[in-house]
């Protein structure tokens, strides 16, 4: 299992309703359905991913997140997930608002652009970082809104969003004391558990 899933699943109540925005192949929802008996719905636009969700026995709706979520009722889910999708959205800030309208709590994970490797790459090569972890070139990347841990903290604070837990992990998804001490420098993936104040 992906270690970030291990962190996320601790925040999910058994038998609760979970909406996953950009649910990919449905692995996370499948895991939550099996271990926590959640009632799940995933939103996805990629055909292959949708097929994989169905094969995984996960409820999936073909819907483009950039066209909004107005078809979802307020407070209709306990948790709304946004895993590794934030950076690919046209209007990430609006979607965060929508997440917390639809769900009582939100979980957001994203690649931390403030990680030392990205900084070193940009500083030494003078080019947009490309790595195993962020494999795309600047012109063909689906990731159009990269941010750092500090940037996301600032967004939450501007919007009056309460951060219940912030976990930052490195490529092994381990939160060592060093990563905890310098999250924006050492952390590769940021995992936030948020709610409306």
């Amino acid at each position: 299992m992906r270690p970030d899933l291990d962190i996320i699943q601790q925040w999910i109540e058994p038998n609760s309703r979970v909406l996953d925005l950009g649910c990919g192949d449905g692995d996370l929802l499948h895991y939550l359905k099996t271990t926590k008996q959640v009632k799940e719905i995933g939103l996805e636009i990629d055909e292959q991913n949708i097929q994989r969700c169905i094969e995984n026995g996960v409820n999936v709706i073909e819907q483009n997140l950039d066209k909004g979520l107005s078809n979802f009722q307020s407070n209709s889910f306990e948790t709304v997930l946004l895993a590794q999708t934030l950076q690919a959205l046209s209007n990430p800030d609006k979607l965060i608002d929508e997440m917390l309208r639809i769900g009582k709590k939100g979980i957001v994970t994203f690649p931390n652009f403030g990680n030392w490797k990205s900084r070193l790459y940009l500083a030494t090569k003078g080019r947009m970082p490309v790595s195993k972890f962020m494999p795309h070139q600047w012109y063909d990347t689906p990731n159009i809104h990269f941010c750092t841990v500090k940037d996301f903290d600032a967004l939450c604070s501007n919007k009056g969003i309460k951060v219940l837990t912030r976990t930052v992990v490195d490529s092994q998804h381990q939160g060592s004391w060093a990563v905890k001490s310098w999250p924006n420098f050492l952390g590769e993936i940021a995992i936030y558990h948020i709610t409306r104040d």
Binding site: R17, K39, I50, Q51, I54, G57, N59, I61, N71
Partner: protein
């Protein structure tokens, strides 16, 4: 004839008949004292009777959904693409039931049947039946087959509307509702097309106010026209271009004639059939009119027009779905302009509002409304994968 029946076909099938000697009170208030139901089944019912799927037919369909009635039959059932061993509705896994709806002309009691009270054809006196009435009669068949709960109820177009009605009227009697290329209710445009179809039938001099069978005739011209209009709405602009743009592409490799292939290669400068599309529509219409009952066509279009389950819920369809736990799968097709993707999304949103579990696919397909009958890989793969999960869930195996 079909020389060899394909291996993925259910093969030779025989329709079965059931007489129901139980009065059926229809939505209109009229009572049908008794009726005959004609149906087919494919696959084996398991000992727990948990693997049954009901297939609901659309406007011009009937009970013959898969297989062949005889090896001489040219055409298999209307959903041969999806029903059979190893197909989306896998008859190795499921027991499939398909019945001809009340008012139909495939053998179930309808306008072309004899009314036992008068000894004459029912004709125009056959009561107007609704989707709700059909579902009620499907439940009567279900009871007699000893099935408590369908693993899934499945249908496209008007068949999809029956699926929705099942989830509303008998929420405890199905595990899954699979509704393809349907709509929550007809649009004004949909009703308008139906009215043109009805007018062409009822104004045919051979219609005789619906008593044509007693006059040993039928409104051939009217029914042909009705089908021609209907057929246009089943195809998309792109499907028509592809279908009627081949000749030019073949001979001149010029694919930009917008599907305006000529029938004889030149214009007639008269009011004759000049273009392939005209000749195709004539052929489809005439073939249909020879095999379908005009009064049934009128009834089916009325059932479509009247379908609107929200009427019992102050116009809010989401309230109709608040009872029950069955899961839904909905599919729409990009070029379907009869029941376009927006209509399926309305349904998805009502289901979400009701807190139901939904899976929804919007399939890119050029074929218009007809796509639900065709082997479009993405659609078939998703349909098959979904039903494999259904089987896994209701029969507890690892399929």
């Amino acid at each position: 004839m079909t020389d060899v029946i394909p291996e993925d076909s259910v093969g030779i099938v025989e329709p079965q008949q059931l007489h129901i000697d139980e009065p059926l009170t229809l939505r209109s208030g009229k009572v049908l004292p008794a009726c005959d139901i004609v149906y087919e089944t494919y696959g084996e019912l398991n000992s727990e009777k948990s693997n049954a799927i009901l297939v609901c037919h659309a406007l011009s369909g009937d009970h013959h959904a898969a297989g062949y009635h005889a090896s001489e039959e040219m055409k298999p059932g209307w959903w041969e693409t999806c029903i059979g061993p190893g197909k989306a509705i896998d008859t190795n896994l499921f027991y499939v039931v398909s019945m001809n709806n009340l008012g139909g002309c495939g053998g179930t009691t309808g306008p072309a049947s004899i009314n036992p009270e008068t000894g004459k054809y029912w004709g125009p006196d056959f009561p107007v039946v609704t989707v709700r009435d059909w579902v009620k009669s499907q439940a009567m068949l279900m009871d007699r087959l000893g099935i408590q709960k369908w693993a899934a109820v499945v249908g496209g177009s008007l068949g999809g509307m029956q699926v929705l009605r099942w989830a509303i009227s008998y929420p405890e009697r199905l595990d899954h509702a699979i509704c393809i290329a349907a709509a929550p209710k007809l649009s004004a445009q949909n009703i308008a097309f139906n009215e043109v179809a009805r007018q062409s039938i009822t104004t045919d001099p051979n219609f005789h106010d619906g008593h044509y069978l007693e006059n040993n005739t039928y409104p051939k011209q009217g029914l042909t026209l009705a089908r021609m209009v209907g057929h246009i709405t089943y195809l998309s602009d792109s499907a028509m271009r592809a279908k009627f743009g081949k000749t030019v592409a073949d001979f001149e490799s010029d694919e930009t004639n917008f599907g305006r292939d000529l029938r004889t290669g030149k214009l007639s400068f008269g009011f004759n059939v000049d273009f392939q599309v005209e000749s195709y529509l004539h052929y489809q219409g005439e073939r249909f009119s020879a095999n379908f009952d005009a009064n049934t066509y009128l009834l089916m279009t009325k059932a479509l027009d009247y379908f609107d389950p929200s009427v019992d819920y102050e116009g809010d369809l989401s309230k109709a779905f608040t009872n029950g736990t069955c899961k839904f799968m909905l599919v729409s097709f990009s070029t379907d302009w009869r029941f376009p993707p927006e209509r399926s999304r309305e349904l998805v949103n009502d289901l979400l509002k009701a807190g139901r579990e939904v899976t929804y696919l919007e399939v890119e397909a050029d074929q218009g409304h007809d796509a639900f009958l065709l082997p479009i890989p993405r659609y078939i793969n998703a349909f098959k994968a979904y039903l494999a999960q259904v089987h896994h869930e209701v029969c507890g195996d690892a399929s």
